[in-house]
C-alpha cells in the first residue's frame, strides 16, 4: 500500500515491500488458529518454514523524517513504517494481486459503489489494546481532516467527491463512492492508525496532527499492528525494530510470524557507503545498481551472497517536449506539437547505447509508458521506434524539414530548428543520457543547446513558469496506471507537455481522458486491461513522452538468509514476514 514516490535523484533502490494491489483474494490452503487470533492470515506466496531468531540489517540512505505514516512521503520513512503498520488489504509481492490483511474479507455491492470490509478478530496494537472498527474509521477521518498533509486524500477522492465511510457494527465498515471505482482495492490499503494514541492530536487540527509522531517521539509511543515494533531511533545512525509477538500472520505450518528477532535499518550517508557495508558483511541486503551486476557476480562466492537477475523497475527516464502555448511560441510550438516531428526524433534516440552506457546493458528499451516489469498490463505489441538516423531524416523530410547548406535543419517556413534540452544536473545518469541525445540530434542538423540545471529550477519551470523546450526527467509508476492520472489526464497538473488544460487540446488527449475515466470505473481487471492496452497504444503512436528504457533490478542478498526467492515485482525479495536465518548465529 505504500505509495511509490518519484525517484528523482536515485533510480535503483527499488526494494519495496508492498505497493498498491488489486482484486480477487485467494483462499489460503489451510486454516490455523492462534490462542488470541481465531483466523490468522496464512502467507500465500511460496515459502519454506523458517527458524526463529537473528538480527537482520539493511542500510538506507537517509534518516526517517516522521513516524506518522499518514503524512510520511519518502521511502526513508515508509521503508521503516511499512514494517510497523498494516492496511485493510495488502499486495502480493510477486503477483501484485490484492489480498486480505487487517480485513479478513470483503464484499462489493452489485452496482460496484458499496464495499463492506470485515475486520480480522483478535488483532492487537503493539501496546496490547485491541484493534477496533473505530481505529479504521479514525484512520480514514485523518485522511480527510483539513490541513493533514497526505497524498492519500488525492487517491481517495474520486471526481472531486471524497470517499464516504461508516461503521456498520463492531467488525464491519462500509465504504461508498459516487461512481463505481474499479481500482478501489488498490487505494484502500492505507495504514490503519491507533485512535487511542492519535485522536487527541487530530482533534487539534491538521497542522498539529502533521507534527505528531515526529522523529522526536519516544519509540514506545509509536504503536502499530505490523510485524515489527520500533525499539530505538538514533538520529543519523539507525532504527532498531523488534519482533511483534502478537502479529496476525502465520506460515504454512501455522507458526506465528515473523521469524527474525531484530530488524535494524542502518542509516548511511550514500550508496557507496551502503555498498561497502554490504560487501564487508555488515548488512544482509543491497539493491545493486545495474552497473554493479557483473562485478557483484564475481564477488558472490568470496563474500557469501547471491545477486539475483531481477525484473525491470516501473520507473523510466524520458524526454518530453513542451507543447504548451503558455510556455513556448511558434515556431518551436509548431514543431513540438507536430507528431511527425516527435516520431522522427524518437527514431534518433539510441536506446541501446543508453542501456549499455548508463545501465551496463541491464535495461530493456522502452516503447511506451508501462514497464515490461508490469506483467498485469504491459502491452507488448506497441510500435517500435528503432534507432535509425536515416529513417529519422526521412520522416523529417516528409514533414517538410530539410537540412540547409550550412548543415542546420530548417522547418517548412525556413526557420532553423533550434532549442534547449535540459535535465537536472545532480543526476549523473540523466546528464549522460542528454549527451547521447545531443550527439544524435546534432547529426540531424538540430541546433541544440544542452543545459543541465538544478533540480529545483527544473521543477519550477515544469510546473510553474512552463518556460522550457525539452527536458529529460523520470517518474516512478505504480502497478495501476490510473494512480498516475495526474500525468495522463489533460486536466492534470503533471500533464507535463501541457498541464491543466481546460479541455483536451487534441483528439488523442481526449481519448486518453476517456480511457482513464473508464479504467478507473471498471471493476473487472481484465476489462481494465483493455483500456490500458489502448492507452499504451495511443501514447506510443502520439509520443508526447519519449521513453528511453526500463532498468533491471539486481538485489544482492547474503546466502545466510532463507525465503529470499522468488524475486517479486520491481526486484522485491521475500517479505520481512518470512525471511529467516538458515543458521541463527547472531
Amino acid at each position: 500500500m505504500v505509495r511509490r514516490w518519484l525517484e528523482l535523484i536515485t533510480v535503483g533502490s527499488l526494494l519495496l515491500a508492498l505497493l498498491a494491489g488489486m482484486a480477487t483474494a485467494q483462499t489460503p490452503p489451510r486454516r490455523f488458529s492462534l490462542p488470541d487470533i481465531p483466523n490468522p492470515k496464512v502467507v500465500t506466496y511460496p515459502h519454506e518454514v523458517g527458524k526463529y531468531g537473528g538480527v537482520h540489517v539493511r542500510a538506507q540512505i537517509s534518516d526517517p523524517r516522521t513516524f506518522n505514516y499518514r503524512v510520511a512521503q519518502e521511502t526513508s520513512s515508509t521503508d521503516i513504517l511499512a514494517n510497523v503498520f498494516d492496511g485493510l488489504v495488502e499486495q502480493n509481492y510477486i503477483t501484485g494481486e490484492i489480498e486480505p490483511a487487517l480485513a479478513e474479507s470483503w464484499t462489493v455491492s452489485r452496482d460496484g459503489r458499496t464495499w463492506v470490509f470485515t475486520l480480522r478478530q483478535g488483532v492487537t496494537w503493539h501496546d496490547g489494546k485491541p484493534l477496533t472498527v473505530d481505529d479504521v474509521i479514525f484512520s480514514f477521518e485523518s485522511v480527510f481532516t483539513e490541513g493533514v498533509q497526505t497524498s492519500a486524500r488525492d487517491t481517495l477522492t474520486f471526481e472531486g467527491k471524497p470517499l464516504r465511510f461508516r461503521k456498520l457494527d463492531d467488525r464491519r465498515i462500509e465504504f461508498r463512492t459516487e461512481k463505481p471505482i474499479g481500482t478501489f482495492l488498490r487505494v484502500i490499503g492505507i495504514a490503519i492508525l491507533p485512535k487511542h494514541k492519535l485522536a487527541e492530536a487530530l482533534a487539534k487540527g491538521g497542522a498539529e496532527f502533521n507534527r505528531t509522531w515526529g522523529v522526536n517521539t519516544p519509540p514506545r509511543e509509536i504503536v502499530g499492528t505490523g510485524p515489527y515494533v520500533i525499539a530505538e531511533y538514533v538520529p543519523g545512525q539507525r532504527v532498531t525494530m523488534l519482533r511483534n509477538a502478537r502479529y496476525w500472520k502465520v506460515d504454512k505450518a501455522g507458526n506465528r510470524l515473523p521469524y527474525l528477532t531484530r530488524y535494524v535499518r542502518l542509516i548511511v550517508p550514500n550508496l557507496d557507503a551502503a555498498r561497502l557495508k554490504f560487501l564487508a558483511g555488515e548488512t544482509d541486503v543491497y539493491a545493486a545498481r545495474p552497473r554493479e551486476f557483473t562485478e557483484f557476480k564475481g564477488l558472490e562466492r568470496q563474500n557469501n551472497f547471491t545477486i539475483y537477475d531481477g525484473p525491470e523497475t516501473f520507473a523510466s527516464e524520458f524526454v518530453v517536449f513542451n507543447q504548451n502555448p503558455a510556455g513556448v511560441k511558434p515556431p518551436k510550438l509548431t514543431w513540438f506539437q507536430d507528431v511527425r516531428f516527435r516520431r522522427a526524433i524518437n527514431h534518433a534516440i539510441d536506446r541501446n547505447t543508453i542501456a549499455n552506457q548508463i545501465y551496463a546493458g541491464r535495461a530493456t528499451p522502452a516503447w511506451g509508458p508501462l514497464s515490461v516489469g508490469n506483467k498485469l498490463y504491459y502491452n507488448d505489441k506497441l510500435p517500435r521506434y528503432e534507432y535509425n538516423l536515416a529513417r529519422a531524416e526521412q520522416l523529417l523530410a516528409e514533414a517538410g524539414y530539410r537540412k540547409g547548406g550550412d548543415g542546420f535543419l530548417r522547418d517548412p517556413q525556413g526557420n532553423i530548428v533550434e532549442f534547449t534540452l535540459s535535465t537536472n544536473a545532480e543526476n549523473n545518469d540523466r546528464v549522460a543520457m542528454g549527451n547521447i541525445l545531443r550527439q544524435d540530434w546534432t547529426k540531424l542538423g538540430i541546433k541544440l543547446t544542452y543545459a543541465p540545471e538544478a533540480f529545483n529550477t527544473l521543477v519550477g519551470k515544469l510546473v510553474g513558469t512552463f518556460n522550457w523546450d525539452a527536458i529529460i526527467i523520470g517518474l516512478t509508476g505504480g502497478i495501476e496506471p490510473v494512480t498516475g492520472k495526474n500525468v495522463w489526464l489533460s486536466s492534470g497538473s503533471l500533464h507535463m507537455w501541457w498541464p491543466k488544460q481546460e479541455k483536451p487540446a487534441t483528439e488523442w488527449e481526449a481519448e486518453i481522458d476517456r480511457l482513464f475515466n473508464s479504467a478507473e470505473a471498471e471493476v473487472s481487471q481484465e476489462k481494465r486491461k483493455q483500456f490500458y492496452l489502448r492507452w499504451q497504444q495511443v501514447v506510443a503512436e502520439q509520443v508526447p513522452i519519449l521513453y528511453f528504457s526500463y532498468p533491471k533490478t539486481q538485489p544482492a542478498v547474503r546466502n545466510t538468509m532463507g525465503n529470499v526467492t522468488p524475486i517479486g515485482l520491481q526486484g522485491a525479495i521475500g517479505p520481512i514476514d518470512t525471511l529467516y536465518y538458515k543458521q541463527v548465529l547472531r
Partner: protein
Amino acid sequence: MLRHIVRRLLQLIPLLLGITVLSFLIIQLSPGDFLAEIRLNPVVSQETVDQMRANFGLDQPLHIQYLRWLSNVVRGDFGYSFAFQVPVLWLIQSRLLNTLLLNVVALVIAWLVAVPIGIHAATRQYSATDNLFSFIAYIGISTPTFFSGLLLLYLAFVTRLLPIGGMTSLDYALLPWWGKVLDVARHIIIPASVLAFLAVAGLMRQMRANLLEVLRQDYVRTARSKGLADRVVIYKHAVRNAINPLITLFGLELGGLLSGSAILENVVGWPGLGQLILDAVTRKDLYVVMGSLVIGGVTLVLGNLVADILLAVADPRIRYD
C-alpha cells in the same frame, strides 16, 4: 576587559541580523522551494501542494515570513523543519554533541602533536626530520578531507581492523559504560585522525615559522650569550612568545567546531550537524538552514572573542581598554 566583552557581544546583534537577512533572501530568491519534489509526485494534486505551502507559511510575502521567524527566534523558538515536522532546535540538539565530540577530539590531538613537532622542526631548521615533517605537512594541507576519509574507510574495509563509518555499533545500547566509550573510540579514530592530520599540517607550519621568527630576536641572542641553557632559552622564553599567533588560530578553530567537519561527516557517516545541514540546504528546508546559520554565526563570534581573551591573558602587552 569586561566592557570589551560586553561591547563585542552587543556587536553580535547587528552582525546576526545582517547574516540572517542576507541568507534568508538568498535562499528564498533562488529558484524552487521545499515543495519541488512533491510537485512531481503523480498522486499529489495541485490543491494539496497549495495547502502545504500555506501550512508552511510559504505563501506569505518575504518580509512577513522573515519578521515572523525573527520574532519567534527572539523568544527562543527556531521554528519547525519542513521535512521532519519537528522543532529545528531538537534536530540540531540531536546531533550537536556528536559534531562537538569529533571536533574536540581532533583539536586536542592536533595541538598535542603539532606544537612539539613545530618546535622540533624550528630548532633543527633544514635538518632531515624538519624536511620530512614539512613534506608530510604539505601533503596534509593539500589533501581534501573527503579524500583522506575515503582512503581510510577503504583501508578499514580491506583490513577489517576498524568499523566502516558510523559512530556506534548495533549493540551499543546493550554495552556497559566502558564498552560504550571503547565503541565510540573505535569509530572516532578515522574521522578524528583525518581532521587532526589536516589541522596538524597547518598548525605545525605556523608554530615552526613563529618560533624561527622569535629565535632571531635580540633577546634570544642575549639570553644565549649570557649562558642560559638552550632548553631554557627555547621553552621558557622563545616558545612562550611564539605561541601568541597560535592562540588567535585556536579561537578561529573554536568557531569552526560545528562546521569544520561537515563534508567529512557525510563521507564517513558521522551522525553530526554536517549531514543535517547539507541535506537541509539542498532540499531548501528553510528554518533548519536558518537555525544552523545562527548557531554557526554565534560560535564563530564567540570563538574569536575567546581567542582575544586568551591572548590578553597570555600576553600582558595586550590590553583592550
